[in-house]
Symmetry: C2
Subunit: 306 residues, 2 copies
């Protein structure tokens, strides 16, 4: 298995204009793994409480996800409760109960230490550093973060940036991190802090990949029905790194393709509650979706004006 | 000259975080024409007051703009005053003085009636219909509108839609017009009302072209410095229709290219106050910008997953 993710495995209660679920499978590592496992084997490190329906994770096992690094601790599982606006453009967090996740100290199993591609999910930057100390010379390390760590642990987060190859964040996060509202200047600032590449996720507006002197833009898939946006960004990251891990292609052209695989996964994620949007998605369906991005974005243009 | 535009010629007073101008050349027909004239000759129909610095328009004449359809009427010119937020993401209209534009009844000069490509700028839908009655079998008619007409003159606007080939609006306008917040469903609804194609402008998030069963997405050009967003949408429309008028290419591939020319023009427009962003832009610079959109969006993908 070529891809390791460290992050949250949670139970989400979500209300959208189209329905509601209670204690559904969620968490960044869960969405990430389900998406990535369409492309490569995934090892997960996380923590769940003794109230967690482990069978729900095991049902996902056939996809090629190794959950053996997810420790079951005494106490309550991480729960998140949120409600989306009528147009899904914004959401209110109604409740966050960290439970056992509050004391999560990721232990990378010895058998996982040589995984070549690593994704540091959104956890305390000190824990992200601790994970980096436990892995052996990975080919590529990517990380996520969130507003809470940017405001409270910026120094530590900057240490993480010095040690990762790729930062994957949303537009609000990169603005807050860089102190610059222009995302293109913000991306350039991040590139000066360590990572060779940065991906900015913009929800329905797509995603932007920046590397020194080059950039790539991939729109979100045009969807007439979006059911639940929860997990879209984590699924994007899973598709992106799943593709990189599968191919080992670290060229600019490879990362562009990874962006499209990520965007395709985001479009599956939002089509149902929890990870239900991935049901029935096989490699052929994935490839069809990926190729439709080409139809959506490509054009021909001559050397001179026609 | 192959392109006719009917719309506003105005004096804008604009404040952005980077500076301010007073009574600068503005208006939808002005931005449209300056952009389009990089690609084709443009005929303008509009009205200005007796206080308008006509010389400022004439300075733009060398680009191939025929201003002879712009009537100078007794009274004050149309003036708009606005102020942008620190991040340019929103703006407040501080003052709108319609002046002579309030009584504008577009008269298409006989010599303009056979222009093959027509853009109905944002004027009263009844006036848009009156323009359509004055032109002879154009190859393509596109129209714009705004929230004010959508709420106050929807019936008349729907009559306009039945007679145009293309609607060019922004995301808020198409949501209001269709009553649907999902822009892809909204686009499908517009296509059921008459136009064969609809373009949705989304500012910094790019533009979307929908036709039955097909869609195309073009991002905004990544800019580290945006100076003044005023006129970006009108410049987009000018680039789009300027390209269509120049080439006469009404194929899907042609409209995709038109989207990119429109987006390129938008990027020039926002780089300075008023129409200053077009200064020094020649066809070669335009083509370089257009080709850079290809670098920004293109990727290769195999038949099967790599």
């Amino acid at each position: 298995m070529r891809l390791l993710v460290v992050g949250s495995v949670a139970l989400d209660s979500v209300e959208t204009p189209f329905g509601a679920v209670t204690d559904a499978l969620g968490g960044s590592a869960t969405y990430f793994s389900v998406a990535a496992s369409l492309l490569t084997g995934v090892r997960v490190v996380g923590v769940i409480g003794d109230d967690f329906p482990k069978g729900d994770l095991e049902k996902l096992a056939p996809r090629g996800i190794d959950w053996s690094g997810v420790v079951q601790a005494k106490g309550e599982s991480f729960r998140w409760k949120g409600k989306y606006s009528f147009d899904l453009a914004s959401r209110d967090t109604l409740e966050t109960r960290l439970g056992v996740f509050a004391d999560f100290k990721p232990q990378i199993p010895r058998a996982f230490a040589d995984t070549p591609y690593v994704f540091l999910g959104n956890i305390h930057p000190a824990l992200q550093l601790a994970v980096l100390d436990q892995v052996k010379d990975p080919q590529l390390v990517a990380c996520d973060t969130m507003n809470y760590w940017i405001s409270s642990e910026k120094e530590t987060l900057l240490k993480v940036l010095k040690r990762v190859d790729l930062l994957i964040v949303n537009d609000e996060e990169i603005r807050q991190l860089s102190g610059d509202w222009n995302i293109h200047r913000a991306a350039r600032w991040v590139l000066s802090q360590g990572p060779r590449r940065v991906v900015i996720k913009r929800g329905e507006h797509g995603a932007f990949l920046a590397e020194t002197g080059k950039s790539f833009y991939c729109p979100a898939f045009p969807m007439e029905e979006v059911f639940d946006p929860t997990g879209a960004g984590d699924s994007f990251a899973g598709g992106f790194l799943g593709y990189v891990a599968r191919t080992g292609d670290l060229s600019s052209a490879g990362f562009r393709r990874a962006m499209v695989y990520g965007s395709a996964m985001g479009s599956f994620a939002v089509s149902s509650f929890s990870v239900g949007g991935f049901e029935g998605v096989d490699p052929a369906a994935l490839q069809t979706r990926v190729r439709s991005f080409k139809d959506l974005t490509h054009f021909d243009v001559a050397e001179a004006i026609g």
